[in-house]
Symmetry: C2
Amino acid sequence: MNSLLPRDEFERALYAIGERQYHDLHPFHQLLHGGKLAHGQIQAWALNRFYYQLCIPKKDSYIMARMDDPALRRSWMQRVLDHDGLGEDGQVDEGKVGGIERWLRLTDGLGLDRDYVVSLEGLLPATRYAVDAYVNFVREHSTLEAIASSLTELFAPAIHRERIAGFEQNYAFANDATLSYFRKRLEEAPRDVRFGLKYVLDHADTGEKQRQCLAALRFKAELLWAQLDALHHAYVTPGLIPPGAFVPEGLTPTEYQR
Amino acid sequence: MNSLLPRDEFERALYAIGERQYHDLHPFHQLLHGGKLAHGQIQAWALNRFYYQLCIPKKDSYIMARMDDPALRRSWMQRVLDHDGLGEDGQVDEGKVGGIERWLRLTDGLGLDRDYVVSLEGLLPATRYAVDAYVNFVREHSTLEAIASSLTELFAPAIHRERIAGFEQNYAFANDATLSYFRKRLEEAPRDVRFGLKYVLDHADTGEKQRQCLAALRFKAELLWAQLDALHHAYVTPGLIPPGAFVPEGLTPTEYQR
């Protein structure tokens, strides 16, 4: 039990998690990318996903805080920069605009009020729980497990490419501004994941640590999936929007219900 | 009780903490800067202070993790960069070398083995407790209190100027490499503290918050002082070095004792 897997077998086990349960397989994403969602449903997705984007640099700062090696922290900090952006407000050159701001360009382009998005008032409670679970996970687990949990990025470029193509083909809101988050992540994620994968393969040097890394990656895949479950339940089927959560324009909270 | 002080009075109360108990007033620093310490005593100081330097970016990463505003976190991140440095190892231009590396140039110049310094094996336990107390403080208190605790930087430029002058005048180890940490901090600290002081003055908008900020700054001044108390007790008077802590060359642990 928990015997050490050869490096290539361990790597395949990490990839197998993505093949089984990365959220590109979720029906909500298939509807989203396939042009099957109404505008209000896409707004709901972007609004909820904003909370995830907002918490990514908090999560990465906790990981940094627990790292004992300045060189390792220096590498990891790039992720915080990617999301928060670099430079003073109003003086940021376009290449250094962060992922949070890029996501807000998407919600802008979808016609959501920025103050409402940033207020977080319309979130599904389940979104909050899933995202907060991620932030808490990295506070409480080892640096190795925290890094392993980031390896869903192995599977992200494929979903981003699929999303960009699907949005361009199917939705009028697709343009340089609303797609800029995803295009930028296509540059960043492969760099991040090369670093993270190498770290995990190098440092998971016992069967127990490999098992912890696989569990961490499953945990992360599950919480991405759970966010879509909540969106699907509230805004697709049965369309049961919890009290207080975002209600697409022209709908009543029960209008999606069968 | 806890009524709101006018802004200028609150600011004076913050400064008064420095005037009363910033560690420039500690006898150990007066000996250090006045050329009164033996080489081994200076080594002990630099070795112990290294742990403080090493933990500063962990402390700042925890503060970042708790910040909800990406723009605020972006400003704060500069501190982590200042200490960890920027760029890949071996390719860092001189201006971007971090404070931790600059401190190691000081311990190098003092003839301490780098591996021994980095191992943290020679630390006084009391150093560890005081520094860890700081890291834990910012994890458990509000962002406002964490920022207030950083305001000892208000008083740092004076001590750095005094230290640079005292070292140059009194000690053969003083050179560009060993002084580079302090010279760099003369550039960085005033920028940091302008930001921190304004934040605290702007956000401590109740008497209770002002009281918490004053308490946070006292807490920080106390832990800087406590580090010197431990050094003084171990390496000056009575010179009682705890078992396992750094012993200057040629001394036995009890040699400083009366």
